[in-house]
């Protein structure tokens, strides 16, 4: 049984374009974000709408390769290609764009991209530990606040920022609740549906409506679980997907895992649970910018060195979601995730004794057959181990 609201989520990206166009006609500003490190609360507090611009589709990559090297991650090429071909309505609608110096590929790509849109590039520290990096990041947030005020012609008051923090936290809690439904065995939601619902959140014109929609899906999933039904038969291997982000257009690994007889119960990537667990402290005695800086610096991305937070998170998730096997997805030429994959392999195999599969691929469909063989073999191993 598939939740009825998935019909809305499947087309959510397209449906929201009209809402955003209307908002823009009513003089509401739209701010594009490329990454989970962009503090959306500052955008909301400025009265603007944050939208995600991270490219998840293969189509614009050929155009991007006219400028960028081919040997670059598909996420960067897709994001850039969408922008320069003017085929992404969200990029077109954006009045201002926030970028960050995460990985080398992205920060250099942004140097090109800023020719196309007013943009501010935040200087992200390379580590999340220590007071010096925190002070640096806090100063970066102050700069961003001023840039947003200047470019959007708005004032970001302390009060509006506190309101925005509450709203964004509420949204995170709701999405986390949705994700946690798949702790149930067998999972009430397919990994593909879970991914689609979480990813759609990037294109919300109205956060309250978005929260409402996710609440509806949670209700339906609760009902599925209550009836003891699931898209998967009992005993289906429960897979945790970690590594680079996925979305509609780049869902091929999620799709193949489930086609080959697995159930993706947990998405440990930046569209998934990686960014949902950390809330901004809601404390009226605390400077809200400081609270934001603390929260955003916790995101365990592989661009951080070291990135111990990812292993703490994996440790918790593997247990909580009763995971039978871990798949680590690296988009081609994403050096940081690619290198970290070896540490994740060690961690998963030694600490948990679980089957582990590392895949390196891009957004194209050229290797579907090869991927299917590897993933099938991995599910065969995981399934047999689970039976024992």
């Amino acid at each position: 049984m598939r939740p009825g609201s998935m019909k809305i989520f499947k087309n959510f990206r397209d449906l929201s374009i009209m809402d955003l166009e209307n908002a823009k006609k009513n003089k509401t500003k739209i701010v594009g974000l490329y990454c989970a490190f962009a503090p959306q609360e500052l955008v909301l507090a400025a009265g603007a709408i944050p939208v995600g611009l991270c490219g998840t589709k293969n189509e614009p990559i050929a155009a991007a390769e006219k400028v960028l090297p081919r040997n670059l991650c598909p996420l960067i090429k897709s994001s850039f290609g969408f922008a320069i071909t003017d085929t992404c309505p969200f990029f077109r609608l954006a009045d201002f764009v926030i970028a960050e110096t995460t990985c080398d590929g992205k920060k250099k790509m942004f140097e090109f991209l800023r020719r196309y849109k007013p943009m501010h590039i935040m200087q992200l520290p390379q580590s999340s530990d220590g007071t010096r990096t925190f002070d640096w990041w806090l100063a970066e947030l102050s700069v961003l606040k001023i840039k947003l005020e200047e470019n959007l012609g708005a004032e970001i008051s302390e009060d509006s920022l506190r309101q925005a923090i509450k709203l964004a936290n509420r949204e995170r809690r709701t999405m986390k609740r949705l994700h946690e439904i798949n702790k149930i065995d067998p999972a009430p939601l397919s990994g593909l549906d879970l991914m689609t619902a979480l990813w759609s959140n990037n294109f919300n014109e109205d956060k309250e409506e978005g929260i409402e929609l996710v609440n509806g899906l949670i209700g339906e999933a609760d009902e599925i679980a209550g009836n003891g039904t699931s898209p998967f038969p009992k005993g289906t291997p429960r897979i945790l997907l970690t590594g680079c982000p996925v979305g509609l257009g780049s869902e091929k690994v999620v799709m193949l895992i489930e086609k080959c007889g697995g159930s993706v119960v947990c998405l440990e990537n930046c569209g998934g649970i990686k960014t949902l667990g950390y809330l901004v402290e809601e404390n009226d005695q605390k400077d809200p910018l400081e609270a934001l800086a603390e929260r955003y610096l916790k995101i365990p991305c592989s661009c951080m060195s070291p990135n111990s937070g990812r292993f703490e998170l994996l440790d918790r998730l593997i247990t909580e979601y009763k995971v039978d096997g871990v798949v680590d997805l690296t988009w081609q030429a994403c050096h940081t995730y690619n290198i970290e994959a070896e540490m994740v392999r060690d961690f998963v195999k030694k600490d948990f004794g679980l089957p582990f599969l590392h895949l390196e691929t891009d957004y194209s469909s050229s290797d579907l057959q090869q991927l299917q063989t590897r993933i099938s073999a991995f599910i065969e191993v995981t399934g047999r181990k689970k039976q024992q």
Binding site: D367, Q369, T373, S376, E380, V381
Partner: protein, 259 residues
């Protein structure tokens, strides 16, 4: 109970029929249609055994063409089947290294012949049978002559693993006057080093079986043994290991169902 395993590879189709501890097999070219090759191999095998379709309890298909054969009962990946088959042929193995026409893989195996881990290179032809064919052609040789010619030669370092670019590297080396046998030895060594690196990620196997078409190449085998610091077993039936494993898995499936 009689079962059949069909391995529909990119180059050849292998069929094995198992009854108790005995088995018969055949190898045929796959051609352009794995579907047709699978059916023909199956029927020929039945004919050889003097059996009818109804006598066969279970059929497992494997290999890249497994999805295109409609009459099989179950499809299982070549990784699982290879491990099973190689373990049946050599009981004490804990690792299978397979270098075929289009890919290379390393499989860690437990004492029951079950896969515990695997690594695979299937993104390009580097280090596969195809790679060696291209080298042989560039040197005016047949792939089967490579090992003999390069025996005891001092390997020259080659830098390319890309099947397309290595051809031009070979041609420049020849132009520089480097002897053919040294180039071949160098290529063998680079193939071995690449596969050995893949194997070491899975932990060093104690008893390794080397299968696939490239296992016939003594040069690669020797360098691979040196890289891994142990001898590799090569069995004459290595080419049918996948189909044999498929037929054995079919036996297990039937037993499971009769419980």
């Amino acid at each position: 109970m009689i079962t059949v395993g069909l391995d529909l590879g990119s180059v050849t189709t292998k069929a094995v029929l198992v009854e108790g501890n005995s088995w018969i097999s055949l190898i045929r070219p796959t051609g352009y249609s794995p579907r047709q090759a699978g059916r023909e191999a199956f029927e020929e095998l039945l004919g050889n055994a003097g059996l009818k379709r109804g006598d066969i309890g279970f059929i497992v298909g494997t290999g890249y063409g497994r999805i295109s054969v409609p009459f099989i009962d179950q499809a299982v990946t070549e990784i699982t089947c290879h491990a099973k088959g190689a373990h049946f042929l050599v009981k004490e193995i804990d690792m299978v290294i397979d270098i075929g026409g289009q890919d290379s893989k390393v499989i860690a195996v437990d004492r029951f012949g079950n896969v515990t881990d695997f690594a695979m290179n299937d993104r390009c032809a580097a280090g596969t049978g195809k790679f060696l064919e291209v080298i042989a052609a560039a040197l005016g040789l047949d792939v089967s002559e490579l090992a003999m010619l390069s025996k005891n030669a001092d390997p020259i370092q080659t830098s390319n693993m890309c099947t397309v670019f290595v051809e031009s590297e070979v041609i420049s080396l020849l132009a520089e006057g480097v002897k053919r046998e040294r180039i071949i030895a160098g290529i063998h060594q680079s193939v071995a080093a690449r596969v050995a690196a893949m194997a070491e990620r899975l932990g060093k196997g104690e008893h390794i079986v080397f299968t696939g078409g490239v296992a016939k190449n003594e040069g690669v085998r020797e360098f691979l043994g040196k890289e891994l610091g142990r001898d590799l077993l090569v069995v004459p039936e290595s080419q049918i290991a996948g189909a044999l494993g498929a037929a054995l898995l079919a036996q297990e499936e039937v037993k499971l169902k009769s419980l």
